[in-house]
Structure formats: C-alpha cells, structure tokens
C-alpha cells in the first residue's frame, strides 16, 4: 500500500516533519547569527583597523572552549559517574546548549507543528528508556547543526565584507605581547596550510607593521606608518583559521553527532514497547502446551442445595441394605452401625459393585426383589465416589424389579477419619443430581444426620 493512501500521517511522521522544520529553522538562525557575528567582529568604520586578536578570539578561541564543552557533553554515562560532579556539569552544558533553541522556535511554529512538537516532547519525557539517549544526542545534533551553520554564515559574512569593502586589519592587545610571540602563534596556527598556501601565513613583518596601539593616530588607525596594502594581507590567514578551526571541527562534530543520533534512535527502537517480545520470540523457541482451542465455558447447570431430613426408620420394620462397593466398611460391623445410628433392629445386608461381579449384582437384585413388599430398601454408597453409570444401571435395574410400590432410599455416606459421617453438601448434590437425571421417582437420595 502506498503511504499516501494511509490518510493522516502517524505521530512518527508528524514528529519527523517537526524535526525537519525545526532543523531548517535552526540552520537559518545559525547562518543569520553567523553573518551578524562576522559583521560585528569585522566592523570597520575607518577609524580603527579590525582587530585580528578579536577575530581569533571569537572564531578560534571561543570555538576551542566550546569544543571542550561539547566533548564533555558527549562523554558516556559510565565515565561520568566516575568523575565527581561531572553529571551535574553535563546537565548544565546540555541546558545551555543551543540545541535547546529549538524549543524557543516553537513560538513561531504553526499550530499543527506546535502540537506535534508537544507530543514529541511529552513522549520523550514519558519514555525515558527509549528516548533518554535519543534526547541527549538530539540536542547535541541540533547544537551542531546550529554551530556549523553559524560558522558557514560567519565565513560567508567575512568573505562578503572582504570582497565588498576595504578592510584594514591590525592587532592590538593590552597584554604584554611581543611581535615574535604573536608570530610564533600565527605560524603554529597556520602550520596545517603553510606549505599549500604560503600567502596565508602572516609574516613577522606583517605582524610588526600591523600592530596597533590605542594612542596611535592616523586614518587607518594603524601604528607604525604601515603600508596600507599590507594591512589587508591578514585576510587569507583569518579565512583559513575560520575554515580549519571553525567550520571544519563543526562539520566533523555535526557528522559525529548525526551518527550518534542515528545510533541512539536505532538503540531506542530496541527499547520500544513490544520489541523485546519480538526479539525474544525470534531468539527463543516457541513453546506451546495448551490444547488447540480453549474449552467452551463450563455448563451453567448447578446442583440444588440439599435439605433432606435424616431418615427416620421405624424400628419394627424389616430393612434391606445394599452396600455398594463396600460402602461403610470403615465402621466395625455395618449392622451394629445401622442399629446404633438408624435404629434398625432387623435387616438383611447385601453387597454389590466394587469387587462383586456383575452376576453377583444381579443375584442381589433378585434377592431384594424377592423380599416382602413392606421391606424398606436402602442403598448405601460412599458419597465421595461419584455415581458412575454402572451404579446408576444397578439402581435403575433394582428399581424396575421392585415395582411401583417400593422405592429405594440412597444413603451416601461421608466420613470423618474412620467414622461414618454425614456427606458433604457437594457430594450429596452430585448424587441427587445424578439420580434426578434418571427420572425415576422411586429413587430418593437422603442424607444421614450427624450422630447425636
């Protein structure tokens, strides 16, 4: 899909646009300031010559100090931590960096770009992990854009004044300075281009001739009956100094800052939300242990709460107990328990389920069905064991054989250690629920009550 089809540009695209606009404005501001600085430093009204010392101080000396500051700003955090107070100084330098001029430019930006800039700064502040280094190198990069364009503007301004006006250069200082010392300094400064451009190396004669004292008089303000032509010979040296010590270091620092800025952006991407997950996925095996599709939500059906009263068994009636899978085995003798807890005096006890065979189950059903009609039939089971289909088959078969007049009371037994106890409501519910599913009204689940 073509980018143009996407409609509104993303925040990233809008921020990039803001970056371009503000960078262009910074470059323009740098050129303007540079031009004005050149005009101020090379100001010549015919009374006093342009002071070479001032030109060197502004375009070489100050540059040197600024570059030291820049180098300090660029120091890596690890190194800074080892130097007491270095972090604070770096913060200060960053605060006064011309890169911050960008923020001042906001005032004159169109409303839409201002809004983007606010977004960009807010994100920068919020995601320090991502933008901490980007912010640092962004400021340095902006500062270098400004500085390089400043020197380009200053150089252009100087060349303009040199070409289109007649400047007279001299040098003057209140400090004790001998001509030979200045010569040594200028020779040292011009050593890089001395062989390539010998006329850009000030001679001792030029230095001697162009020294200017405050008390001197004369139309050019020059000191010692200097040759007017000679006073203009400083310009190749000054232009070379501005190029080599002004513009060139700034272009190099601009290139370096740009490189680090790009690296910080790339590094920042690694910290962007979700990137670590993607990298993690790329670098590690993808492990899956789940089923292909999650299970559907569980059925909403829930068992009703049981409120079945304890079975009150008539003492004079004969009872039949069917112990399913040895239920109630934890008590000593089942008949004793039935007598003590249920008040049963006369009963038959049959076994079914568990280790009994299917044939033995059928025999039990035959025996129970053959008992007298008034005999109450109790089905004893372990409440914690779920009512499996085999058990329900037995109950349904038994109920069918007993006929309409006789029911089966199902007594799920709970346990408390080795003692028989009332079943938990969960267990009782599961039995009630399962028995209800048979639709047989002759099967009734009841709960035994606690021992008195």
């Amino acid at each position: 899909m073509h980018v143009a089809d996407l409609g509104d540009p993303s925040l990233g695209a809008r921020c990039a646009r803001f970056q371009r606009v503000s960078s262009a404005l910074l470059v323009i501001a740098g050129i303007v300031f540079g031009w004005l600085a050149a005009g101020a430093v090379l100001f010549y009204d015919g009374t006093h010559p342009v002071n070479v010392v001032r030109v060197l101080a502004v375009f070489v000396g100050a540059q040197f100090l600024l570059l030291v500051g820049l180098a300090f700003t660029m120091l890596p955090p690890d190194l800074l931590q080892k130097i007491p107070g270095a972090e604070g100084l770096q913060d200060l330098l960053r605060t006064i960096s011309p890169g911050n001029l960008r923020k001042l430019l906001f005032r004159w930006l169109p409303a839409s770009v201002r809004s983007d800039a606010t977004d960009l700064l807010a994100r920068g502040r919020y995601h320090h992990v991502i933008f901490g280094r980007v912010e640092k190198w962004g400021i340095i990069f902006s500062a270098q854009s400004f500085a390089a364009s400043f020197y380009a503007g200053a150089l252009a301004g100087c060349l303009y004044l040199i070409v289109f006006s007649d400047l007279a250069f001299g040098w003057s200082t209140t400090l004790e300075a001998k001509d030979e010392s200045i010569h040594r300094l200028t020779t040292a400064l011009s050593s890089p281009w001395a062989s390539a451009a010998p006329n850009a190396v000030p001679s001792l004669q030029l230095i001697e001739e162009s020294r200017h004292f405050r008390m001197d008089s004369g139309p050019a303000g020059s000191g010692r009956d200097a040759d007017a032509n000679l006073l203009g010979d400083w310009w190749p040296f000054l232009i070379a100094c501005m190029v080599l010590y002004g513009l060139l270091p700034r272009l190099l620092s601009y290139g370096f800052a740009r490189w680090r800025y790009q690296a910080a952006l790339q590094h920042g991407i690694l910290h962007a939300p979700g990137v670590s997950d993607v990298l993690d996925r790329l670098n590690r095996s993808m492990i899956r242990t789940r089923a292909e599709d999650p299970m559907d939500a569980r059925p909403g059906e829930s068992a009703e709460e049981s409120s079945v009263p304890a079975p009150m068994l008539p003492a004079d009636q004969h009872h039949v107990f069917i112990r399913w899978s040895d239920a109630g085995q934890q008590t000593g003798t089942f008949s004793d328990w039935a007598s003590a807890r249920l008040g049963v005096t006369s009963c038959d006890i049959f076994a079914a389920g568990g280790s009994a065979s299917i044939q033995e189950d059928e025999q039990t059903i035959d025996s129970v069905a053959a008992a007298q009609e008034e005999t109450a039939v109790f089905f004893i089971c372990n409440a914690w064991e779920p009512p499996v289909a085999e058990c329900m088959d037995f109950l349904t078969s038994l109920s069918g054989r007993l006929g309409n007049g006789r029911g089966v009371v199902i007594l799920p037994l709970g346990r408390n250690g080795v003692e028989i106890a009332p079943p938990s409501s969960d267990h009782l519910n599961q039995w009630q629920h399962r028995v209800r599913q048979t639709g047989d009204p002759r099967l009734v689940v009841k709960r035994i009550e606690s021992a008195p």
Binding site: P77, D78, S285, I287, T289, E292, P386, A389
Partner: protein, 474 residues
C-alpha cells in the same frame, strides 16, 4: 519416530483434568466437582517451534469398568491376546451407547498411548478401582500410577500399595500445588516409561526450563518498565490563573494516582499473560492485598522497607558521595567525607515524607502556565511498588493452571517469599536513584531487569508456599 502420547485415565472426578491443566499450563481445561466433566478425549500437544514433543490426552472417566472387564474376561484365552480383546471391545461397542466412555478412553491406548492412571490420594482405596486397573493392564501399554492428593494426602500409602500391584511406576503428584520442578520430574518420569520416549521428553523438559527462564525475564522486564514509568511519571495540565490552585492540585494528584494504579494494573496483566493465566480479570478482582490502594498505610507497612533498611541504603548513597570527597582530597580528610555523607544520607531517609507527588506550577514557553505533578519523593515508594509486583509475580508464577478457585493472597503469602539479599537491594536502589534522576535510564533499567530476573526466578521456584501447604496438610 512416533510422538509419545500419554492418555490420562481413571475413575471419574479424580483429578485427571487437573493434572492435564497443570502439565499443559491450560486454565481453559474444565475442572469440576461434578463427575463426567470430561466427556470427550482432548489432546494437549507440547510443541517447540511447531515440532510436537509429546501429547497429553485427557479422557473421560470409567463408567462401566466391571461390565467392560466382564465382557473381556468372557473372551479371554491367554494373556497375549489381551490387547486384541481390548481392541475388539472398542470396535464392537464404539457405535453403541453401552460403553461410550470406555471406548473413548481406550482408543488412545490402542493407538499406542502410554497410560497415566490417576487416583485421588485423599480418599480411601475402594475395590471398584480394580476392574479399571485390570482393563488398563490388558492394553499392554507402558503405564504409570499417579496419586493426586486432592486436599489431603491421608490415603496415599494404601493407594501406593494398591497401585504398585498393577503399575511398575507409581508417583505422587499434587496437580494443584506442585511446583515447577515437580512438574519437570514427572515429565522426566513419563520418558522413562519407554526407551524411545526418553529423548523427546528430555528435550521437552529442557525447553520448558528455558521457557520458565524466559517468563521470569519477561516478567522482570515488564515490572521494570512499570517501575520506570511510575518513577518518571509526570502529568501536566494547563493552569488557568482564575482556577483555585488547591483545586487544580487536588485534581492533578487524583489523576496522578489513577495513572500510577493503571500502570500497576497493566504490569500485572502483562505478567499474568506471560504465565498464561488467562483468568487475569478474575484474579485481579480477588487479590485483596494487592487491591489495597497503592498508597494505603497497610500496603506501605507490608511492602516498604524498614527504617533500618532505608537508613542503610541512605547511608550507602551519602557515604558514596562522601567517599568521593575523600578520594579527591587524597585521604587528607581522614574519611570525614564518608562519615558525614553517611550521616546526611541517614538524615535524608528519615526526613523524607510520604508525599505523593511534587506539584509545581510552571511557565512554559510553549503552552504558558501549566501545573505539573512529578514522582513521589519517598525512598520507600519504589520498594513498595516492587514489593507488590514481586508478590504478584510469585503468586502467579507458582499458581498451577489446575487452580481455578479464587487466588487468595495475604500477609502470610508475602512473608513466605524469600528475603531479597542486601546486595540485590543495594543494586536495585542504585537503579532507582538513577531512574529518578533520569540519568541513563536505559542502562539502569537493564541492570534492574538483570537483578529482578534472578530474584523472580528464585521466587517462582521457591519453596515458601510449598512449605506452607505441607504444614496445612499435616
């Protein structure tokens, strides 16, 4: 080579699905007290980069085991024919309604699956299980008896004796409370059932260990990111000069608190997502301790560092600065810098109030007068946030997917966590300090992640909760 398949079989409602949920880390497995919750076989393949290393198959429970065995016994001639008879049983009854569950659970075994027979160690052994075990023995497949004590381990030993007669390997595995190492041990034991299964299971175990490390690292990353967001949170709002300053501050502080809580919630959700705890929303609602307001005094008391600990960390910070003074004076200060620095650090730690945020009014070049809320100053604040995150991670990472009840966390759960070593605490505090000052936040965060990852790995595999569980059992 065929992929090892393990069919989890047994009596209904004895924890088969719990075991599957825990081993497959799948909380969508339906686990219910009502019998017959599982009505179909369901496969849980363990895949590494798309390659299946083993498959767990959850099966319905036996419903008519004695009738099944009776049918088979009637056709028995000699032991070598047992597997064929099982096959005949399935093919004969697969289209009828007589033995639907038996047919479903036996089919994977006929296809070559290993048998994992699950019983509940908290209830007594009963004779009805014998028919099931005999049927499984008839299949001739490699098998293991698994005692899953649901609630208590009261009847584990009788079960062990009974299962030992039918299965060559019998293990106790608490599906709900087992720690990660026990899960790996169980998988390794699965591999021992058959020679050809050993290698894929060993690979699976290694992959799961790697995955566990990744989860700890990823959680540490999310927690660290949340901490950074909290520590560097800054909220701005335009301030109308006509508006009451106190009302504006109040409103901003409220928003600030909401943002912090939102970051914490988001971090929790991410950690739960990492550990594939899908029921995150339910857990969120049921964390009484973690749902305590982040700024409540209770939370502060439980998770914050003690004054003594804070004093120690304050002394470290101040002492370090003082130490630098000593170095710069070439030792001529007779270590006075370190002493004074420590004292200043202690004083700073004590003097710091539990202020929520710094609220200031700024005149900005872009947007004029704005009111700004910035991070809280109290040295305990990041430790409170980290303590909460750490507890949440420990609970989530230790929670098996068979635990589908409400997650309960109390002060005891917090005290069960192993203490953070003073060395780690110091390293974390250094990271906090750098993040607060916004100095090389990226590197500080990476260092914090590294420290938290180790701590989280220990928390996730720790035995604190297990010990607590054992005590309860006894």
């Amino acid at each position: 080579m065929s992929v090892p398949v393990f069919a989890v079989v047994g009596h209904p409602n004895k924890g088969k699905s719990s075991i599957v949920a825990t081993l497959a880390c799948d909380d969508s497995v339906r686990i219910g007290p009502e019998p017959g919750t599982t009505v179909e076989c369901r496969e849980y393949p363990m895949r590494v980069d798309g390659e299946t290393l083993y498959v767990l198959t959850d099966t319905p429970g036996f419903q008519r085991a004695r009738k099944t065995l009776s049918w088979m016994t009637e056709r028995e001639t000699n032991a070598s024919e047992h597997p064929d008879i099982v096959g005949q049983f399935v093919s004969e009854h697969s289209r009828s309604d007589d033995f639907p569950d038996e047919c479903r659970l036996l089919q994977p075994l006929l296809d070559g699956a290993g048998v994992l027979y699950v019983v509940d160690g908290s209830v007594p052994y009963g004779p009805e299980y014998e028919a099931e075990m005999k049927i499984l023995r008839w299949t001739g497949q490699p098998s293991m008896g698994l005692i899953n004590p649901i609630g208590s381990a009261e009847f584990v030993e009788p079960w062990r004796a009974a299962l030992g007669q039918y299965f060559s390997v019998v293990r106790v595995f608490d599906a709900v409370h087992s720690d990660f190492q026990k899960r790996l041990d169980l998988l390794t034991a699965f591999g021992e059932l058959q020679e050809s299964w050993r290698a894929p299971l060993a690979r699976a175990v290694e992959a799961l260990k790697d995955d566990r490390d990744r989860k700890a690292e990823q959680s540490a990353r999310y927690v660290a990111a949340g901490l950074v967001d909290m520590l560097t949170l800054r909220i701005e709002a335009p301030h109308d000069s006509l508006e009451s300053q106190s009302r504006a501050k109040e409103s901003l502080i409220r928003k600030f608190k909401e943002r912090l809580s939102r970051i914490e919630r988001k971090t929790r959700e991410r950690v739960e997502e990492v550990y594939e705890q899908r029921s995150a929303h339910r857990i969120e609602a049921d964390l009484p301790l973690l749902d305590e307001d982040l700024f409540s005094s209770e939370t502060w008391k439980i998770f914050g560092l003690s004054r003594i600990q804070l004093t120690g960390l304050g002394a470290v910070g101040g002492g370090a600065i003082g130490g630098m003074v000593d170095i710069s004076t070439g030792g001529s200060s007779l270590l006075l810098g370190t002493v004074l620095g420590s004292a200043a650090g202690v004083a700073a730690s004590f003097a710091a109030q539990r202020s929520l945020s710094k609220v200031r009014i700024l005149n900005q070049p872009i947007a004029g007068r704005r009111i700004v809320a910035e991070p809280v100053d109290h040295p305990n604040f990041p430790h409170v946030v980290l303590g909460r995150a750490r507890l949440h991670h420990a609970v989530v990472s230790r929670r098996t997917h068979a635990q589908q009840d409400e997650m309960t966390i109390d002060e005891a759960a917090h005290t069960a966590l192993p203490p953070v070593s003073s060395e780690r605490l110091r390293r974390i505090e250094t990271c906090f300090a750098r993040i607060r000052k916004k100095r090389n936040v990226g590197q500080a965060t990476e260092e914090m992640i590294e420290t938290l990852e180790k701590q989280f790995s220990e928390d996730a595999g720790g035995s604190g909760f297990e010990q607590k569980e054992t005590k309860t059992t006894k």
